[in-house]
Symmetry: C2
Subunit: 354 residues, 2 copies
């Protein structure tokens, strides 16, 4: 199949540093190539891919001293449309920016929505564009926008060989990601303390979260059971997870997916997560971790984390969350789009069908 993947330009594919969407697009693109498809990736010029790369900007916009970020996005959109005859299917990862263009196109398209959707302005937008086929990354992500034309949920995947399975022999729990009010590092620190376990924290502070970090988090990091590793690279992430007894994920927001959940599973590391967003779709309670609603339950879960079989975590990862599984799920969607007898019936598939 001749497939175009259209990535955001804000980060390279994969991203140099943080950037969940671009990382998934990288894994998906390479996995589609591995599966034998003819794939073209539209992304910034510093992207690294097994596919054919088409770039309208030399570098990722976040790293260039770019004044006008929209210009590159519009330029890329036109480049995609100019070349659309070269492809059987266009797969967009750029939110809704292309909708007014692709609605007018006869090319088969689908769009994976990577972000949080509980933003009031999106409601009238998806009421208007209720014919555009969109893919969710968890079922819970769809909740704020039932009117959108959801054609499937496809979970993210990561390459099966990217993270090494580990036995969790370090005597610590781990918190990974960002310090932000919705990620609740404060809860993670307290859960570990009350369960009498060390905690290693590898997280970054976004500009927007600096005040929150200074006020709510910084002083908590001084406790003797806390080891603060600042922001770490991909290479350090694997061993950190593989040696951890558990990943703590005590979130307080509707997380659309949560890449770190499947990264932990890839390392065989069970997860203790609060029940929000995608959590109950990704974690099987009692099998790959514990889903909790209170701090007491979280502490109890961490004390009982040895009840979770780490082999089961890794096996579950391989079965549900590898890059190849993700790519196969998308290929099935692409084929469905292409082989529909009537174009209209594809575009108007009822919402919430998996």
């Amino acid at each position: 199949m001749r497939i175009a993947q259209i990535a955001p330009l804000i980060e390279s594919v994969p991203p140099k540093y943080y950037g969940g969407t671009e990382r998934v697009v990288a894994y998906l693109t390479d996995a589609l190539v591995k599966l034998g498809h003819d794939v073209t990736l539209f992304a910034s010029g510093d992207s690294i891919t097994r596919a054919r790369l088409v770039s309208v900007t030399p570098t990722a916009l976040r790293l260039s001293n770019c004044v006008d970020q929209m210009a590159g996005n519009i330029l890329q959109l036109q480049e995609v449309m100019d070349r659309s005859h070269e492809f059987d299917l266009l797969h967009f990862h750029t939110d809704y920016l292309h909708f007014p263009v692709t609605r007018r196109s006869h090319k088969k398209t689908l769009t994976t929505l990577h972000g949080r959707l509980d933003i009031p302005e999106l409601k009238p937008l998806y009421e208007k564009f209720n014919d555009m086929p969109v893919v969710s990354i968890s079922n819970s992500q769809r909740r704020p926008l039932p009117m959108a034309n959801w054609i499937a949920t496809v979970f993210h995947g990561v390459p099966a060989d990217l993270y090494e399975y580990g036995k969790g022999e370090g005597d610590y729990a781990v918190f990974l990601g960002r310090f932000s009010p919705e990620k609740r590092a404060d809860r993670a620190i307290e859960i570990a303390r009350r369960a009498n376990m060390k905690i290693k924290i590898a997280a970054k502070v976004d500009k927007a979260d600096e005040k929150y970090f200074d006020k709510e988090i910084r002083h908590l990091l001084d406790q003797p059971h806390v080891e603060y590793l600042h922001e770490i690279g991909e290479k350090e992430k694997g061993p950190l997870l593989a040696n951890a007894k558990a990943l703590l994920f005590p979130i307080d927001w509707p997380e659309p997916f949560g890449m770190v959940l499947i990264e932990a599973m890839a390392c065989g590391t069970p997860i203790i997560a609060f029940n929000h967003g995608s959590v109950p779709e990704i974690i099987e309670h009692g099998k790959t971790g514990f889903i909790v609603n209170t701090m007491d339950k979280a502490v109890e879960a961490l004390k009982n984390i040895h009840l979770i079989n780490r082999d089961t975590c890794r096996e579950t990862f391989e079965r549900r969350f590898s890059d190849i599984v993700m790519a196969q799920n998308y290929v099935r969607l692409y084929e469905k789009a292409l082989h529909k007898q009537s174009e209209r019936s594809f575009y108007l598939t009822p919402a919430y069908r998996k």
Copy 2:
């Protein structure tokens, strides 16, 4: 003629406070109605217009607690395209956001570019979209983008009755607008001091310019010849200008137009301006003001400001910069677009033709 005007959504039309583009769109839209055209304005729901108003958002985005500003813009774009059959011509004021859509449309469109264009990312964009007919608001504005398909320059206009002619009987010069490094209020204050004249300053401080204001400007406002009026409303602007001996416009950047220049002229007030951007196209040296390159020349000009005939300033305004003149210039362009025998020849009119 059935004309659609498509405004940005960031401010209402006209804007509640600051917002040059939306103000011009308001004047143009109402003037087209006065000229007997059937005009539809796409703008935020709190806009006030003589035309038919179509709104996808209840209020201007800057004043709502909007998380995602792009959503409204994309929604409006689709609304415009859904209704495009109702219009003979679509006139966009929304930069380049619509280009990938209108390029594929058979509807006649033109786009007025209201902002500064010396932004590196715009070059590859306008190389790609070198067929999209664009209108500049001064010839100098075009300089960074010679590859764009410039079809005309149309100067901004304001309603002839909006500002009252005055005799400049106040004993002061005036500086109006924003405190920002490119506007050079510091120069204005020094020019007045050295010419032994009072200066009244009505300007706002944008969030982005707060540091600059504190460091470079605040202490200058304490001088005895300076009267600082903070931000003023439209109603106060007229008398302030009409009683001023001169408007000081000692800019240090390529101003694309400069609405305050024609507002001053409407009041009969001559201008002393540094020679950048649109200045030599709007001001006639020795007739409606003085164009200078140095502080010495600016001081000399202010001392000689009585040599400028205030009646000539007002007459020049009425002849060149009224809302009706602007609307007539646009109508001529619209007609040109509609009556072209070949669509292609209109879209490919050579650049820099006035």
